[in-house]
């Protein structure tokens, strides 16, 4: 159990500031995901927490205790590496017990912990194998086992699933969530894959160029993105982001998109858009569906569009439609076939429209 706090944390290589000034606190037992594109400083931050990277400025606190100059092995952490970092010359059993032996732990206790971890992760039959005789998923589990046996108060994961195929990745996501329920530890999990972050995290921290763009629960980030970057990063397929100009006409507010397509903007309490303002409009594909076309709901706005591309996935179909020259990604729920070149009515759920200022890229509506 540990509460982690980063206070004005800074990392610079010479003149280059990878992480200029980070403030973040994580609670006991919380599952935090750091996400962002590569080079955003998420791994560097994690490695500073682990003690693998020297801290250039600011403070790192575990339960109020300053950790900046504490050896990694004395921080009560465990880390799962991207390429697993299993010692290739040691059997699985020795991989698991290596750290405990270094800490001169009692042999019986080591045995107990290794057994426990092996049962928890289904490694019983693999204990006497060498890492090279394991499959990718098994290696991943051993890497987790090596972390588990330490009974650490903080788990650090550095893109642990990026080397697995899609199916195994989904499976391991579940395993990691289960693990989190069994062990009472804070988890800091770094990934570039927003799906991983959305499915596992209690709280997500979105980073860009070493700066926190937004943090919050997965639902908050999905529904209330603070800026264009977060809006585009969270959600799959990505939100449609198109630029346009606000047109206020008495009671009615519209946004005219660059290609001429016009969408009405419903009135919200206390917020207003100015006539002529350049904006970026955000619409999730999930909120443009043929199923809701012609609905009585006042927030549903129905428009005809031409199907350009149709990508069926089975239970739902993603398709790109052309509305007066503007192409938008939409989502059709159900098994109904969407034929390319067909003209079909689509229901826009205007209550979920996001509006960002074009220059500052911050959300204004």
């Amino acid at each position: 159990m540990a509460r982690i706090e980063l206070r004005n944390l800074k990392k610079a290589y010479g003149q280059v500031e990878v992480v200029p000034n980070m403030n973040l606190s994580m609670d006991h037992n919380e599952f935090i995901c750091l996400v962002g594109p590569s080079g955003c400083g998420k791994s560097t931050t994690l490695r500073m927490i682990a003690g693998l990277e020297e801290i250039s400025g600011g403070e790192l606190l575990f339960d109020g205790e300053r950790m900046n100059d504490v050896q990694p092995s004395k921080r009560d952490i465990a880390m799962v590496f991207q390429n697993y970092a299993l010692y290739p010359h040691m059997k699985v059993r020795d991989n698991l017990s290596f750290g405990l032996k270094n800490a001169k732990m009692d042999a019986a206790e080591i045995d107990k912990r290794v057994q426990q971890a092996a049962v928890m992760l289904g490694l019983d039959d693999l204990l006497d194998r060498l890492p090279k005789a394991l499959s990718g998923g098994q290696r991943q589990r051993v890497a987790m086992g090596r972390a588990v046996v330490r009974h650490p108060s903080v788990f650090l994961f550095d893109e642990p699933l990026s080397n697995l195929d899609a199916k195994l990745r989904t499976h391991m996501r579940g395993e990691i969530k289960k693990l989190h329920k069994k062990v009472e530890s804070t988890i800091v999990y770094v990934t570039h894959d927003q799906t991983e972050a959305m499915t596992m995290a209690d709280r997500i921290v979105v980073l860009r160029a070493g700066v926190i763009e937004q943090m919050g629960t997965p639902q908050e980030l999905y529904d209330e993105p603070a800026n264009v970057f977060v809006a585009g990063f969270i959600g799959s397929p990505a939100m449609n982001l198109v630029s346009g100009v606000v047109q206020v006409n008495g009671d009615q507010t519209h946004v005219r998109l660059d290609d001429g397509f016009i969408l009405p903007i419903p009135r919200k309490n206390g917020r207003a858009l100015n006539d002529g303002q350049a904006v970026v409009l955000g619409l999730r594909p999930d909120d443009i569906t043929p199923q809701r076309a012609g609905s009585d709901d006042p927030n549903i706005h129905t428009v005809n569009g031409t199907v350009v591309v149709s990508e069926p996935t089975g239970a739902e179909t993603y398709c790109i439609l052309n509305f007066d020259g503007q192409e938008l990604m939409c989502k059709s729920i159900g098994r109904e076939e969407i034929v390319e070149d067909a003209v079909i009515p689509l229901g826009f759920d205007l209550s979920h429209i996001k509006v960002f200022d074009k220059i500052s890229e911050q959300r204004i509506y």
Binding site: A50, L52, S73, F81, Y87, G99, N102
Partner: protein, 279 residues
């Protein structure tokens, strides 16, 4: 037009013929000198292909009172073996240090460029300085001095090779070991060392062979008591009356380590020779 199959066969035939010709060009001189070791001086002078093999050259070389060949051989073994152990040990430590211990980039490149220049300089340029240094320290004409020179001569190559093998040890492993509570020395001993053993073997084979073959320093820094095999062979050829038979026998014996390594450690030798140059 030839069929594809016939074309392939013809290509294979031409390639194998060309390669077999080269094999012959390489092996024939060897066989010739090996045979010459069993010839009497008169057989050599008549360049006879069929002859009655004799052991006299080997007997003289190995058992005659005037021959120092066994001592020379022992000297060579001592020098090459000690130099290899020292050189590979030092190079392994240094390669790991230069790769992983965050030395300033200019320092690392300075060391590497210096060792490259040093590696390409003829040993002959420095024997004068070594000689006067060893005289001053009082170890001139000793095997110890020759070992030291062999170590420094082969360090650049060993360092270069170990740097390439070190690169194949994932940094993540060392980080994992640090989190698992290893000190830097323990990381080296428990994680890095076991993983670079194949690399150290390849480097050792190469260093041993080059040390065994070393001639320029051995020629100028030894006396009769400390001279190595190559120096002894050179002396056979330089005597007023060249003893071709004895020279052939001595030369043949001296290739034993090389031939043994060739048969046993081809893989290591190839990886050592190619890694040193192109990686």
């Amino acid at each position: 037009m030839l069929t594809i199959k016939a074309q392939k066969r013809l290509g294979g035939f031409i390639r194998h013929s060309w390669l077999m010709l080269s094999v012959f060009a390489i092996l024939f001189p060897f066989l010739w000198i090996a045979l010459s070791g069993f010839k009497r001086e008169i057989d050599i002078a008549m360049s006879r292909i069929s002859f009655a093999p004799v052991w006299s050259n080997y007997e003289e070389l190995l058992f005659s009172k005037s021959s120092t060949y066994l001592t020379n051989f022992l000297n060579s073994v001592i020098v090459s073996f000690s130099a290899t152990v020292l050189c590979v040990g030092i190079a392994t430590l240094a390669a790991h240090s230069l790769r992983r211990h965050k030395w300033p980039i200019f320092a690392v490149s300075a060391i590497l460029i210096f060792s490259m220049i040093f590696n390409m300089t003829p040993a002959m340029t420095l024997v004068g300085a070594w000689h006067s240094l060893f005289v001053k320290v009082g170890i001139n004409n000793t095997l110890f001095a020759l070992i030291l020179v062999n170590v420094v001569l082969l360090l650049p190559m060993a360092l270069w090779l170990m740097m390439t093998f070190m690169r194949d040890v994932p940094e993540e492993l060392e980080e994992a070991a640090a989190i698992d509570g290893c000190t830097p020395a323990e990381i080296f001993r428990k994680i890095v060392l076991p993983l670079v053993v194949p690399g150290m073997m390849a480097t050792s084979v190469i260093v041993f062979v080059f040390s065994w073959n070393e001639f320029q320093a051995a020629l100028t820094l030894t006396t009769k008591a400390t001279q190595t095999v190559p120096v002894a062979i050179a002396k056979f050829a330089q005597e007023y009356e060249v003893k071709h038979g004895a020279m052939a026998a001595a030369a043949t014996l001296s290739t034993i380590p090389a031939v043994m390594l060739m048969l046993v450690a081809t893989r290591y030798i190839v990886s050592g020779l190619t890694n040193g140059a192109i990686k």
